[in-house]
Structure formats: structure tokens, C-alpha cells
């Protein structure tokens, strides 16, 4: 690699004037992009801006209507992922394309098995090469271990190894940090820098501003299918990028005044909860949420948060301890009773629990309230009342939809979440449980939902916020409980808690040990 790799170097890969139209929308409108070897190129844009379409064109999953792709100056045709891999273009998808029951080696070989002869796969050679490749990154990888047993962070490494194993020159990572903890993110950034130094070209797709600023050499911002700007990290900042991305000025942090907590609304006392397999994953957890405050629970996903939420919202039963709402025992209350008592719940898996995707928006907006006036008289639904209420909610919560009668699956993720928020935030709500309320959403929707949450807090609603997104917890919470291995290990003041402090508790549970110091070192 030459030192003047930055501009004079010819582009390894060039996309010129790529246009891709879908019925009714232009997903990519004459997008041009130059990707160089030894460079991390970030593609920044909101959900639905056209990032994924562009990368699908590059990976041969979508045929462009116009434009061309050049590799090392030569025009090439990419008609399928197979073509792309052949040309050295590899993609690490947001949702890993790994088969959990197969071993690391099998996953890496899948689709390109080295043959001993016409029938049998030559595994021993492959296995050794994978071990070797891993070692070159300082990873100790057991090629025979089933992928399902690996942590998410390691699965991602397997995906990256897979790309490298196939002699990729261009590596496309689609939102690679969405599923990682802050520590894992830092580690994967190390890997990316290393790949960059070895001359790989990396395309890093994200909508997280600070990450892009940290890792990228060039940032290309896409909005509504067009390139709206290109920046170098040194010459820009989060506000500038956010404005480019959204097309207007965005408030990245919510203006939240002092909280005025009143009496205890939710009291959780010593509850223990089992998971679906009957193992106890929440142990003796106690906390309370006051009216008019946001209590955030931070923690790496899978530390018992889902089961805790289940117990609080009536979807699961705590086998020990009590839960009280406004003084009433609701340990054994079902979702309907809780709803009647004023509990709103924005579920973490919005498509599984929050919506019936095939139903129209209007029906989804009355999912909890379909059975009583004004939406029903006796057993008869009042379609007009349902529709009128839906139209009002859609206007109030700015859900972008052609009408209230289209199926909710036609909406974007952000608008689907707004639909759920519109349903759960309305009415006589006393407690709101927000589970990963902004997971996978774009900046505009996140801003909207955060504002709504703070507004509800200020009207005296108690809010329990559970998020794997540490920044979200830090930004919104008046108090923060850190969950680690099924326990709340610490409760901190939301304003004074630092990112490092909470991150450390999330990773170690706060036990002082050598590991802890080590992580503090890497964190600072």
C-alpha cells in the first residue's frame, strides 16, 4: 500500500448513475459512488433512503434500470450474488445468513465446498485454512463448533471470515453494530481497521452518526434515493450529518426538563421469572417506577430483560415476588386487566406482538379496545367509529400512510412503530412499558418517539424503558437500572451516569476484578 492511497488511487469499485425504480418509487436515483481499496466508506441514510437497494444492486440481488458498475476501471455485470462473490464482493447482512446447527466450517464452506472428488467435501483442508485465517486476526476459532453456540459478536466474525475465505476484495457490512454491545462494537471496529490496513475496501452501512464519524474515511449520505452529500469525518459533525440525512435540522438530544416524580406507580418486589424452557432467568429483581419519571433498564440483550418485561405486562408469570400498580397487586393480572388499569406497552418485537400485519391500520389501532364503546356495541363492531378514531390518531401521530384501511405491513418500520405508539400512548395511561422502542428506526422516527415519551412523562405517566441501545437509556432515563444475568446490579442517577460506567456494569455486573480494569483501559 502506498501512503497517498487517499485520493489519487483509482477506485477499486465504481457505481455510476445507478437508478432503480420500483412501482411508485425511485429507490435509487442516479447514485454514483467510488469505493477505494484500503478505505472504509460509510453509507449513511435513514431507513428507506435507498442504502439497501443500492447494495442489492451491487450484490446482484436487484437489476438496476440505469447505470453501470465498474471494477478496476472495467465495466462489469453482476446478475446474481454468485457473480458478486466471483468478483470479490461480499456482504455481511444485518441478519446473519448462517445456519445455526451447522459448524463454523460448514457455514463458511456453504455454497462453495472444496471437493475431494465428485461426491465428498474436503473438510480437513478447509478446516485448517479457517483456523489459520482466524489466527491471523488473533481469533481462536474452532471450525467444528456449531454456529448456534456462538455469541452474536462471534457469529459476525464468522460472517466476515466467510467473506475473506472467499477472497473478497470489497466487504459490505449492513448495519453491523445493530446487534452488538458497546464493547463488541469497539472490537469489530478494530477488526475493520485491520482489514482496511490490509487493503480491503469496506462499505459500512449505518444510520448511527457517531459510529460513522469514528470509523469511516469517507461518508456518503443518501436521502430519498439520491446522494445528498459526501463528507470526510474531520470536516463534519453529528448535527451536520443528521441535517443532511433527514433534510432538516434535527434535535439529536431531547430537551427534557427536570422530572417531577410523584408517588410510586409500579413496584416490583423480589420477582423471579422463568424463560420458555423453564429456566429461571430473572432472579429476585426489585425496583420501582414513580409517576412522572422514566426508569431505564440498560443491559446486554438476553440478560433477562424480555422475561422481566413479560412479567410486568402480564404475558408471563413471575413465580416469586409481587408486582403492584398504583398500590394494587397485579402479579397475576392478564394483559387485558393491565390495559384496563392504564398500562400501555410498546413491545420489543413489534411485528410479532404489536401488530397484525395483514390487518388494516384501523383494526390495529383498536387491537386492545375493539370490544367496548365507542368501537363496539355489544358484539357488533362499529366500523365507522373505528375508522374515525384511526384517522384522528394517524393525523395526531403523523403516521405516513395513504389511508387507514391499508394493511399495516405496507408501512415502513418507523411508521409501524408510530402506529403502536399512537395506540399505547393514548387514553388514561398510568404506566408505559417501552421495550426497545426505537430498535431499527431512523433518526426522524427516533426523535419523534423520544419526544412523545418525555411528553407523556411530563403529564405524570410512569415510564419503564428497556433498551439494548445504551445511548437511548442514557438520554431518556431519570434513573437507570443495570441488568446483568437476571439481576438489577445497580441503580444509577440518569443525569450523572456516564457511558463508560454503565457499559462496564452491563458487561461485568460490577464485580471488581482484573477483567474490569482491563475493560476500563480499553474503554478510555
Amino acid at each position: 500500500m502506498t501512503p497517498e492511497v487517499h485520493n489519487p488511487a483509482p477506485a477499486l469499485l465504481e457505481m455510476r448513475g445507478i437508478t432503480k425504480r420500483y412501482p411508485g418509487v425511485v429507490a435509487n436515483d442516479a447514485i454514483s459512488l467510488e469505493i477505494r481499496a484500503g478505505e472504509i466508506h460509510a453509507l449513511l441514510g435513514e431507513n428507506g433512503a435507498g442504502k439497501t437497494t443500492l447494495m442489492n444492486v451491487l450484490y446482484g440481488l436487484a437489476a438496476p434500470d440505469e447505470g453501470e458498475i465498474l471494477m478496476e476501471g472495467q465495466a462489469i455485470k453482476i446478475a446474481s450474488p454468485h457473480d458478486a462473490i466471483e468478483r470479490g464482493i461480499s456482504m455481511v447482512h444485518q441478519h446473519f445468513m448462517l445456519v445455526p446447527v451447522l459448524s463454523v466450517a460448514d457455514n463458511i464452506l456453504l455454497g462453495d465446498e472444496p471437493m475431494k472428488n465428485l461426491v465428498f467435501v474436503d473438510r480437513s483442508v478447509a478446516s485448517a485454512r479457517i483456523r489459520e485465517l482466524g489466527a491471523s486476526f488473533g481469533w481462536e476459532i474452532d471450525p467444528e463448533r456449531p454456529v448456534g453456540q456462538l455469541s452474536v459478536g462471534w457469529q459476525q466474525r464468522v460472517e466476515i471470515l466467510k467473506a475473506i475465505y472467499r477472497n473478497a476484495k470489497v466487504l459490505v457490512l449492513d448495519e453491523p453494530t445493530a446487534v452488538l454491545t458497546p464493547q463488541e462494537t469497539r472490537e469489530i471496529f478494530g477488526v475493520l481497521r485491520r482489514l482496511k490496513a490490509e487493503g480491503y475496501a469496506i462499505v459500512f452501512i449505518s444510520h448511527k452518526l457517531y459510529e460513522v464519524l469514528e470509523i469511516a474515511d469517507t461518508i456518503t449520505v443518501i436521502r430519498r434515493g439520491k446522494v445528498v452529500g459526501s463528507r470526510e469525518p474531520a470536516a463534519t459533525n453529528e448535527d451536520d450529518l443528521a441535517e443532511l440525512m433527514v433534510g432538516r435540522e434535527v434535535q439529536l438530544t431531547v430537551d427534557r426538563g427536570e422530572s417531577h416524580p410523584a408517588g410510586r406507580m409500579l413496584e416490583v418486589e423480589g420477582i423471579s421469572v422463568n424463560d420458555d424452557r423453564g429456566r429461571e432467568v430473572v432472579h429476585d429483581v426489585s425496583f420501582e417506577v414513580h409517576a412522572g419519571e422514566i426508569f431505564g433498564i440498560a443491559g446486554v440483550a438476553g440478560n433477562g430483560q424480555d422475561e422481566l418485561v413479560g412479567a410486568v405486562t402480564g404475558l408471563r408469570r413471575a413465580h416469586r415476588g409481587t408486582i403492584r400498580l398504583g398500590g394494587d397487586d397485579v402479579t397475576r393480572a392478564d394483559p387485558r386487566r393491565l390495559h384496563k388499569m392504564g398500562v400501555g406497552f410498546v413491545p420489543g418485537d413489534r411485528q410479532r406482538f404489536g401488530l397484525v400485519l395483514s390487518f388494516p391500520l384501523a383494526d390495529n389501532l383498536v387491537l386492545n379496545d375493539y370490544y367496548h364503546a365507542p368501537y363496539a356495541r355489544g358484539l357488533v363492531r362499529d366500523d365507522d367509529a373505528i375508522l374515525r378514531a384511526a384517522e384522528a390518531s394517524i393525523a395526531k401521530y403523523d403516521v405516513r400512510t395513504p389511508s387507514a384501511t391499508v394493511p399495516s405491513q405496507t408501512l415502513s418500520g418507523g411508521n409501524q412503530q408510530k402506529l403502536i405508539v399512537a395506540r399505547e400512548f393514548e387514553g388514561d395511561v398510568r404506566l408505559l412499558v417501552l421495550d426497545q422502542p426505537t430498535r431499527g428506526l431512523d433518526v426522524g422516527s427516533i426523535e419523534f418517539i423520544h419526544r412523545q415519551a418525555v411528553a407523556r412523562r411530563d403529564t405524570g405517566v410512569a415510564i419503564l424503558l428497556i433498551s439494548a441501545e445504551l445511548d437511548e437509556v442514557l438520554e431518556l432515563s431519570d434513573r437507570i437500572g443495570v441488568m446483568y444475568r437476571g439481576r438489577i446490579v445497580e441503580v444509577l442517577d440518569g443525569r450523572s451516569a456516564s457511558r463508560e460506567e454503565v457499559g462496564l456494569l452491563m458487561a461485568t455486573g460490577g464485580r471488581t476484578s482484573g477483567i474490569q480494569e482491563q475493560i476500563v483501559e480499553t474503554a478510555s
Binding site: 405486562t313 404475558l315 375493539y370 375508522l387 394493511p407
Partner: protein, 379 residues
């Protein structure tokens, strides 16, 4: 939305939904024609490319060409409408009720038992009681798989298939044992004179026809206008969301399966009391199985089921005429029905062949068919 706009919207939706079934029927008729031409040497000794035209015209005139033919079509469609609803409403709840056949048989049997007991009573008593008995028998045969599914997780497909055999065995036992008639030469009951359904239309248009006609709007109302229907559809489309919304998917599964059983039982009772007049061990027609095809053809929608049942009813009504005029055996109708079902389930092929885009959202109800084979359950 005004009433007018609502009608227009419903028609547009109907067109989008009905397109694939309509194309499937057309394709099945073409395949049927090919089979007829290929088999024509067996009929007339040489290849006869006009045979399908003759056959289809004969079928058409048999089903609709005369007043009696039309009535025959309607009478044939009657049990298919009721049993079709028994399968279709199940689909809406995410359940694959293969047990309509068993529920149909048990409904007929309990109706027969009640009718025999009231053979000397006034028809005003005997008919309602016998129909009610049929509904209760069917309900019981639906309740059992529903309860097993809801509270033990036993798959309704497996349980209903097994209960079809149990129903058949119970039927044989009853007509050769406790319900066997006095002066009969084979295993059958006495004639059920007291509760036989009155004829009000043509030669054999019995009042079961009216029951089926009323059940379609009732089922529509239940599914789309009532809160229970909303719960049923929510449970079928997304059981997790139903639980989250405070509904009770387990109770709904039991309720829906019981309702399905009731409808299939009513179909059996109506068929027995309106058509046959006495119970035999060979009463087992294929109504309960044809109902699955009807429900799929009707896309699990009551109105669609009505059309599907009328089509099948007409094909059966016209089969005799087809045999006489075209020399094809009546079994050809079975071939056609099976082909329709085959083509319907291979929807992807139909779409590709006719270049039809998937019309918006998938029909989640029909997912319960594929889900029955090891996919995600509703438990």
C-alpha cells in the same frame, strides 16, 4: 366512507381475491379437456378433439339448463356451503379442520337418532330437535380436537383425521346395532319420516337450502362485523398479538373448532333429513373432504365459499348429463374437482402462468394449511 364507496372498495378487493381461484378453475378445465381428449379413444374408438366441448356443454345444461337442474345444483351445494364454512372459519382462526367429514357424519348420526326417537311426533317438534341434535353432535366432534389443541398442544390436523375414522366406526356400529331398523335387509335405520325436511322448491329443494343460504351472511357478519370474529381473525393471523391484546387464543380455538363442528354437523343433519331419509353405514359421502376444496376455492371467505360450493354442486348436478351426452363416466367430475384443488394449492404456478402479481398482502388464513405441515403452530 360512504356506503357506495364501501361497495366499490369491496368489489375491487373481491376482484383481486377472486382472480387466482377463477384462473385456477380455467386452468383445471383445460387440463380436464386434455384428459378427456386423451381418453376419447376409450369412449368413441378414436381421438375426438371436440369431446371436451360436448362434455362441458352437457355438464352446463345439466346443471343450469332446466329448473330441476338448477334445483339439483342448489341441493348439491347445500351441505358443501355448510361444511365449507366449517373449514373456512377454521382457516380464519389459523386452524386446519380436516375433520369436517367426521363432524358431518356424527351430526347426521345424532340427527338420525333424534329423528328416530321422535318418528311419531309432529314435524314442528321433530325437525328442529333433529337439526339441533345434529348441530350438537358436530359441535362435540369439533370441541374435542379444539380442546386438545388449546390445552395440550395436540395438532388439530392429526386429531381431526383420527376422529374421522372414529366417526366412521361409530356410525357403522350404530346402524348395525342400536339404530338398526325393524324390517330392513341391510344395516340401515328405518325411514325417518317424522323429521324429514319439507320440500319447497321443485322436485327436491328441501329447506336445508334455506339454512345454507342464511348461514353465509351470518358467517360473514360473525367474522367481519362482530368482536368475536375480530378475535378469531386476530388469533389466526397472529396468535402472539392476540395474547398481547388481551384476547384468549385458547378459548378462541375451542370456540372456533366447536363452531366449525356445529356447522359440519348441521350439514350432515340437513343432508340426511333432506336428501337421504334414512341412515346407512355407507352414508359417508365425501362432503367433508370436498368442503376443504370449497373453502380453499373460496379463499376462506363466506361469499367465496358460497360460489365454490355452487360450482362443485353444479358439476355434480351436470355429471349425469355429461355421461349421457358425452359418454364420459361421472367420475370425470371427481377428476376435475381434484385438478382444481391441485391447481389451487399450486398458486405460484398459476400466478407465473398468467403473470398475476401477488395482490397485496398474502392471505394469512391459508397459511394455516402450510403451517400444518411442521411449520409454526398456533399454540
Amino acid at each position: 366512507m360512504t356506503a357506495g364507496a364501501r361497495v366499490v372498495a369491496a368489489l375491487q378487493r373481491g376482484r383481486a381475491v377472486a382472480l387466482v381461484p377463477a384462473l385456477s378453475i380455467a386452468l383445471a378445465l383445460v387440463i380436464g379437456a386434455v384428459i378427456m381428449i386423451l381418453s376419447s379413444p376409450l369412449v368413441s374408438g378414436e381421438f375426438d378433439p371436440t369431446l371436451p366441448v360436448t362434455a362441458y356443454l352437457a355438464m352446463l345444461s345439466g346443471a343450469f339448463g332446466s329448473f330441476d337442474g338448477v334445483v339439483r345444483t342448489l341441493v348439491n351445494a347445500t351441505p358443501l356451503v355448510l361444511a365449507g364454512l366449517a373449514v373456512g372459519i377454521g382457516f380464519k382462526a389459523g386452524l386446519f379442520n380436516i375433520g369436517a367429514q367426521g363432524q358431518f357424519l356424527i351430526g347426521a348420526l345424532t340427527a338420525a337418532a333424534a329423528a328416530l326417537a321422535l318418528n311419531d311426533a309432529s314435524p314442528f317438534v321433530a325437525i328442529p330437535v333433529a337439526l339441533l341434535a345434529g348441530m350438537l353432535g358436530g359441535l362435540l366432534w369439533g370441541f374435542v380436537p379444539g380442546a386438545l389443541k388449546a390445552y395440550t398442544g395436540a395438532h388439530e390436523v392429526v386429531v381431526t383425521i383420527m376422529m374421522n375414522y372414529v366417526a366412521l366406526a361409530v356410525l357403522s356400529w350404530a346402524v348395525s346395532g342400536p339404530l338398526r331398523g325393524q324390517n330392513v335387509t341391510f344395516a340401515r335405520t328405518d325411514d325417518l319420516v317424522g323429521a324429514s325436511l319439507p320440500i319447497f322448491l321443485g322436485r327436491d329443494g328441501h329447506i336445508g337450502l334455506l339454512i345454507a343460504a342464511v348461514s353465509v351472511p351470518l358467517a360473514s357478519w360473525l367474522l367481519y362485523r362482530s368482536t368475536i370474529g375480530f378475535e378469531i381473525r386476530t388469533t389466526g393471523a397472529n396468535p402472539d398479538a392476540a395474547r398481547y391484546a388481551g384476547m384468549h387464543p385458547r378459548k378462541l380455538i375451542v370456540f372456533t373448532m366447536s363452531l366449525c363442528g356445529l356447522l359440519a354437523g348441521l350439514a350432515g343433519a340437513s343432508q340426511l333429513l333432506g336428501e337421504v331419509g334414512y341412515m346407512t353405514a355407507s352414508f359417508s359421502t365425501t362432503v367433508g373432504f370436498d368442503a376443504i376444496a370449497v373453502a380453499l376455492l373460496g379463499r376462506a371467505h363466506p361469499v367465496g365459499i358460497l360460489f365454490g360450493a355452487l360450482l362443485f354442486g353444479a358439476m355434480q348436478a351436470g355429471s349425469g348429463n355429461m355421461q349421457i351426452l358425452a359418454g364420459l363416466p361421472v367420475q370425470m367430475v371427481g377428476v376435475l374437482q381434484a385438478t382444481i384443488l391441485l391447481v389451487l394449492t399450486a398458486e405460484v404456478v398459476v400466478r407465473r402462468l398468467f403473470r398475476v402479481q401477488a395482490s397485496g398482502p398474502e392471505l394469512v388464513e391459508l397459511a394455516s394449511v402450510s403451517r400444518s405441515y411442521g411449520g409454526k403452530g398456533t399454540g
